[in-house]
Amino acid sequence: MRHGKYPFVIGFLFAPVALYVTFVIWPYAQAFQISMTNWRGLSAPQWVGFDNYRRLLDDGAFWKAVQHHGVLLLALPLITIAIALFFAFLLNVGGKSSGGQRQGVWGAKFYRVVFFFPQVLAVAIIAVLFQMVYRPNESGLINGVLMKFGIEPVLFLIKPNLALWSIIAVLVWQAVGFYVVLFSAGMASIPGEIYEAAEMDGATKVTLFFRVTLPLLWDTLQVAWVYLGIAAFDAFAIVAVLSVDGGGPDGATTVLAMEIYRNAFVYSKYGYASAMGVALFFLTLTFAALTLRLTKRESVEY
């Protein structure tokens, strides 16, 4: 390139970098620092070292939140991926094959469009929607039907041992369509000859699924697992809006983001909230590293 490269490069980079450093990098760096103080917003922050972290260890709400992340981390990816894989397989390979051309079942296009739609909606909107669906009296979508048949209403969000699963169900409801489309793209890139050859040797659909589709889709599955895992570490909007008084009943659905928000913007415990943020950061990082490590296997060239 000729003269005038540096003014141009600096001119193009200045605004994005300045904005990014001000609102992203600088706050991140500060978070670590604030987490070592007892700052409550009014007086100057005092350095307290690792006190906040020590207090985290005895904080029941923190451990409850961590435990819920554990449940989310297992349940959300497992359920979502299982359902999405099943549907993606049906939609792409489930139908009859003609002339070696793999076909999905009838109406595959329609299903893909419908399934994906919840992904377009904001989680907060979906949370309000399901508040209505789960309502504990005859005005709820589910309980309205149950009570018509004289069945006791199910207290989805009020029963402590049911509340978290009710929330997971909504997350799955939203996520499945996205992964159906993602897996469909992965399946479409598997050459038809492989299926044809396997079928000529008498492989059933079930065999095709476990012996051909699944191994060849491994990379996509890994991506899906990481995405859903990261979603499991977030879950703020759904818990804040859908659950009874933000993480209730009695902390039965709380997540770290909820506790961070509460400690910072309700109790003004900025130092303590930041320590939780740092803990969340390391949990996320550990998860991502572990997933990539554990699921590492030789990818198949085709």
């Binding site: 390139m1 005038g4 141009f8 490069v9 193009f12 980079l13 605004a15 994005p16 970098v17 904005l19 990014y20 609102f23 992203v24 600088w26 706050p27 991140y28 500060q30 978070a31 489930g94 009859k96 329609f110 893909r112 469009v113 419908v114 399934f115 994906f116 739609f117 377009v120 909606l121 904001a122 907060a124 909107i125 309000v128 929607l129 399901f130 508040q131 209505m132 009296n137 005859e138 005005s139 979508l141 018509k148 996205f178 993602l182 492989i194 050859a197 396997a198 079928e199 008498g202 059933t204 012996r211 191994p215 977030d234 983001a257 961070i260 913007f265 943020g277 969340l280 990082l285 030789e298």
Partner: protein, 309 residues
């Protein structure tokens, strides 16, 4: 199932047996065909059930938006006795859904525009120019993908506050843009790298300046990538709940749609205006259905583009 034990055969060297002893040997026409039929019908039931699970709550909301409160309680599953359009009027004006909606449109259109402009500028320079510090700046951007927003929430609040941008749309737009940059730069840098350099060189020889080259040659060439990322950003920023909750908490007239609807749902209990809430939800959902119906293909591609990388 153990996928490790059975590496899938390449098409050229498929072993004669596929390992499943129950599979019919040879290709008897009868076995596979009835299996296909059974599998397909079972699959159809499952697919139809899921479609119902997706559609019914949304449809039910639309219907409830036309009912009155007593109807919502007495007959949640029936059609509304009459079309009560006034529910929508109440939601739009009295519950301020109209304002929230407009606020969301303003914020998201500004922040998406700014994200695309700044993101593509940075990505272009990082992808196609060699200079000292290039890699460092690139990794600075990309590292943002690994950090959860909650980590920065407290300091971010004070950064925005100290700049005097708390409770303003400007503050929200700048923050949305900043947090959208990592993915935008990451994705577009990869995209700009794939564009042929011959066109750029030809432009240079014709005396095209660096920035004219970018805006008039490279941007049009990168259109498919730009559209994908723009859709990704629009949907992501439209759905934001956490950031506006923190940054706009004291300015109710500036609230965006997600936070407004969530607030209405809290108050609906006190005011017993359930039909108003259903109408508000409908106003929030219906435009998304229309947009999705029109741009369905692009939206699916745009949202999954990040994962396919």
């Amino acid at each position: 199932m153990n996928p490790q034990s059975t590496l899938p055969p390449t098409p050229a060297a498929l072993p004669p047996k596929t390992g499943d002893p129950s599979a019919p040997t040879g290709s008897g026409p009868k076995g596979p065909r009835s299996e296909v039929r059974f599998f397909a019908s079972l699959g159809h039931v499952a697919l139809a059930v899921w479609a119902v699970i997706v559609i019914v709550p949304i449809l039910w909301t639309f219907l409830a938006a036309f009912k009155n409160t007593s109807e919502i309680f007495s007959s949640p599953w029936t059609l509304p006795a009459e079309l009560r359009w006034e529910n929508f009027g109440r939601a739009w004006t009295k519950a301020h859904v109209g304002r929230y909606f407009l606020n969301s449109v303003i914020v998201v259109s500004c922040s998406t525009f700014l994200t695309m402009l700044l993101g593509s500028m940075a990505a272009y320079v990082l992808a196609r120019y060699k200079f000292w510090g290039n890699r460092a700046v690139y990794f600075l951007f990309v590292s943002g993908l690994a950090f959860p927003v909650f980590l920065a929430l407290v300091p971010l609040f004070f950064v925005v506050k100290n700049l005097g941008l708390l409770d303003t749309h400007t503050g929200v737009v700048l923050v949305y843009t900043a947090y959208s940059l990592p993915f935008t730069v990451f994705f577009l840098a990869a995209f700009f790298k794939t564009l042929p350099s011959s066109v750029a060189e030809a432009g240079m020889i014709d005396g095209c300046g660096h920035s004219r080259l970018f805006f008039q040659v490279m941007m049009p060439m990168a259109k498919p990538g730009l559209i994908s990322v723009a859709i990704f950003n629009i949907i992501g920023q439209w759905a934001q709940y956490q950031l506006p909750l923190v940054l706009l908490s004291n300015a109710k007239d500036k609230w965006v749609l997600t936070q407004g609807i969530a607030d209405i749902s809290v108050n609906a209990g006190y005011e017993a205006d359930w039909s108003g809430l259903f109408a508000a939800l409908t106003i929030a959902i219906l435009p998304m259905i229309i947009v999705y119906a029109v741009f369905q293909r692009q939206i699916q591609a745009g949202l999954t583009s990040g994962a396919v990388k």
